[in-house]
């Protein structure tokens, strides 16, 4: 083991994988080499991995490379759940929690199911692998369902979309424009293409103006039927759909 741990090729192999993971599909050779040097220099240190990661995270390539990597389906899933304060306690197999089965099934259909890659090299970590029609279609299918999953016997969805919106925006500010901007900032952390933002606002506002206040608290959890006034038609459910759509945007797929 010592021979393997201090071997130069081990350092370079792992440095390349780490740089690919955190920086770019084809990381700069200079960064890989410098990372490998840190790895090799501290091959007996207790905090070897921390030192190596610190080196990568402080590199210019890492700082300038944000948004270049494409998230794999599991990263898309976890990012969506974290940003919406979803609390999940997976149970053994599917029993006891109905959404778990649907969540797992839809997730596995993205091609990134846990422990499904038979070779020891792990799932590919490049954009090409995770940008196919099949993968993106199944990821969007998963994302469209996430806001509707709820614990068995619970009235509220796992994703705290309604409560986060209400708690962070005073009632007078709950307009389509403010709600979309709030969720773009929360989910993505930076502006998205203006044409996409406009589409999202239009969907959420329906026949109301972009700055009209929407009712997020009547008829919870889904809202009320209002066919004659679509801006009031199942508004909390429409907000959840809007959040799911933000997650399907290209900016959310990058990291």
């Amino acid at each position: 083991m010592d021979l393997a741990c201090r071997h130069q090729h081990t350092a370079r192999h792992l440095a390349f994988k780490l740089c690919r993971r955190f920086v770019d599909d084809e990381p700069p050779v200079s960064l890989v080499e410098s990372t490998a040097a840190v790895w090799h220099e501290h091959w007996q240190a207790d905090d070897q991995i921390a030192r190596v990661l610190r080196h990568i995270f402080h590199s210019e390539e890492f700082c300038s490379g944000t948004g270049e990597k494409v998230r794999r389906p599991f990263e898309v899933l976890t990012a969506a759940l974290r940003k919406t304060d979803a609390e999940i306690s997976p149970r053994d197999h599917f029993s006891g929690w109905q959404p778990w089965g649907e969540l797992l099934t839809r997730f596995q259909q993205t091609g990134h199911g846990s422990f499904r890659w038979p070779a020891p090299d792990g799932y590919p970590d490049t954009a090409e692998r995770w940008s196919s029609v099949f993968v993106l279609g199944q990821v969007w299918r998963l994302l469209s369902r996430l806001p509707e999953l709820r614990e068995s016997g619970s009235s509220g969805p796992l994703m705290q979309i309604q409560s986060l919106s209400v708690n962070n925006l005073p009632s007078g500010q709950r307009t389509a424009r403010r709600l979309v901007d709030f969720w773009i900032e929360r989910l993505i952390g930076r502006p998205i293409a203006e044409e996409r933002r406009a589409e999202l606002i239009d969907f959420l506002r329906q026949n109301a103006a972009a700055d009209d206040v929407l009712d997020l608290e009547s008829g919870l959890p889904d809202g009320l039927w209002a066919a004659g006034n679509l801006s009031a038609h199942y508004t909390p459910a429409r907000l959840r759909a809007t959040v799911a759509l933000i997650c399907t945007c290209p900016e959310f797929h990058h990291r």
């Binding site: 259909q109 954009a127 940008s131 029609v133 279609g137 999202l200 809202g223 459910a237 759909a241 809007t242």
Partner: protein, 449 residues
């Protein structure tokens, strides 16, 4: 499908280089795709005991069979003889209650019509006494002995195949809850459990679909395409194509599909997948699909535990607590590929092998079966049927693998290789790229020229 975007997608895919450049084609290429063969690869995990399906009927093998199988043997009076000292399981040629001399159906009828061929002793020369979960990767990856291979044999074939038409959707479709291992490593393989499920359909019902009864109401899914209209990055380009593909699949009328030739599909997940496959084949001019793989999660013989809810049709046939060979008679109740596929349809060939192999010991009820050898069945265009191929390894104690299992006389890859060469036009000289370490190509003469 929006033709303008179609062409746009094609050009961008060709120019970007970073994308899988196999999604879409110009409409002119549609006609070209229709003339190509389709290879259907169906992996039945936990399949039929090969010696229950093709049974020694007379001669020394019958004697050896009765000695080896004891009370598991099928009496000759219940078998359907097909010549050469062999017979079929009664349910391979008839339904419940049919006498063995009644008009043949299904597999036996195909055999009599010279549309079906049987290769004896097909399996892997590299064997181990592990459950099928070990052997399936070996077979799907096409590399017996190792599951460390990072791509499947179908993926390798598609990489090497030349002259493929540029497809509309993908060169290859997989019908499985997860990507079949035979397609492992393929960036553009289109894998769905059911074709109907390739759609964004999870929003709350109130906004999931457009409601035509509400003026101005439009389902959330209609926003997907506008959100991906701009093309600045390769990812956005891929997303735009995905949005169009989703719309394309929506246009396919799955509920109203009329199978050709009066085919009937079982009301099961596998039946639905076969139905999808046939419809995809019919829609080839639109989808450009050339290969299709199915993977069935089935029963793991000997465990009495079903693998997942996907395998309900098989689970019904394998009751927990029964031995691995009980219930086979009912398993044969669903010779799905035979009933739902026109065997003489031009441009189709199907390959099927009872994947559970054949253990000969009569007292092995509580032990897992191993994958050794079994019979392999082929039917479809240009198959020279009503013939046995390969060498039957023998059931006498000296011929059995480790004294208990049917040995392997034909490497399963040779059968697949022959289909690739004779039916798909693949170069025999390149077979080592698809099946590394297979050894020399040894065709059995399964296909007409």
């Amino acid at each position: 499908m929006k033709r303008r975007h179609f062409l746009k997608g094609c050009c961008l895919a060709a120019g970007a280089g970073a994308l899988p450049a196999t999604f879409f084609v110009t409409p002119r290429a549609f006609g070209q795709t229709a003339s190509h063969d389709v290879l259907v690869y169906l992996f039945l995990r936990g399949g039929i005991d090969g010696l229950h399906l093709v049974v020694p009927y007379s001669g020394p093998e019958r004697v050896a069979y009765e000695n080896a199988r004891g009370n598991m043997r099928i009496p000759v009076e219940r078998l359907r003889p097909i010549g050469g000292g062999w017979a079929l399981h009664p349910r391979a040629g008839g339904g419940p209650g049919d006498a063995v001399d009644s008009d043949p159906k299904w597999l036996q009828r195909l055999w009599l019509q010279e549309k079906l061929a049987i290769v004896q002793g097909v399996g892997m020369r590299r064997r181990c006494r592990a459950a099928i979960s070990m052997h399936r990767p070996w077979m799907d990856l096409g590399t017996p002995g190792t599951k460390a291979t990072s791509d499947g044999w179908l993926k390798r074939y598609l990489e090497q195949a030349t002259g493929l038409p540029a497809p509309l959707l993908s060169h290859v479709m997989g019908f499985s809850s997860t990507q079949p291992m035979s397609l492992l490593g393929s960036d553009d393989a289109f894998t769905v459990s059911r074709a109907e499920e390739f759609r964004v359909d999870g929003f709350h019902w109130s906004w999931n679909q457009s409601n035509p009864d509400i003026a101005g109401h439009q389902g959330a899914r209609h926003l997907i395409s506008p959100l991906w209209q701009s093309v600045r990055t390769p990812l956005e380009e891929a997303g735009g194509l995905t949005a169009e593909a989703l719309e394309l699949m929506r246009e396919m009328d799955f509920a109203g599909y009329q199978p050709e030739g009066g085919a009937q599909y079982p009301d099961s997940n596998l039946g639905g997948q076969m139905r999808n496959l046939a419809q995809t084949d019919q829609e080839r001019p639109r989808t450009g699909c050339r290969d299709a793989g199915l993977r069935r999660l089935g029963h793991s013989p000997g465990t009495g535990v079903a693998q997942s809810r996907q395998c309900r049709p098989l689970r019904l046939l394998w009751k927990p607590g029964t031995g691995p060979f009980r219930g086979h008679r009912r398993l044969l109740y669903r010779p799905v590929p035979v009933r739902c596929r026109k065997p003489d349809e031009p441009g189709s060939v199907s390959w099927y092998s009872a994947s559970s192999g054949a253990t000969c010991r009569a007292t092995s009820h509580s032990e897992p079966t191993t994958v050794t050898a079994t019979s392999c069945w082929l039917w479809g265009g240009r198959v020279i049927g009503r013939q046995f191929y390969g060498e039957f390894p023998g059931l006498d104690s000296n011929s059995l693998f480790e004294g208990q299992d049917l040995d392997t006389s034909t490497d399963f890859r040779q059968v697949l290789a022959e289909a690739l060469v004779r039916r798909m036009g693949f170069s025999a000289g390149q077979l080592d790229t698809v099946f590394p370490a297979m050894g020399s190509y040894q065709p059995l003469g399964l296909f007409e020229s």
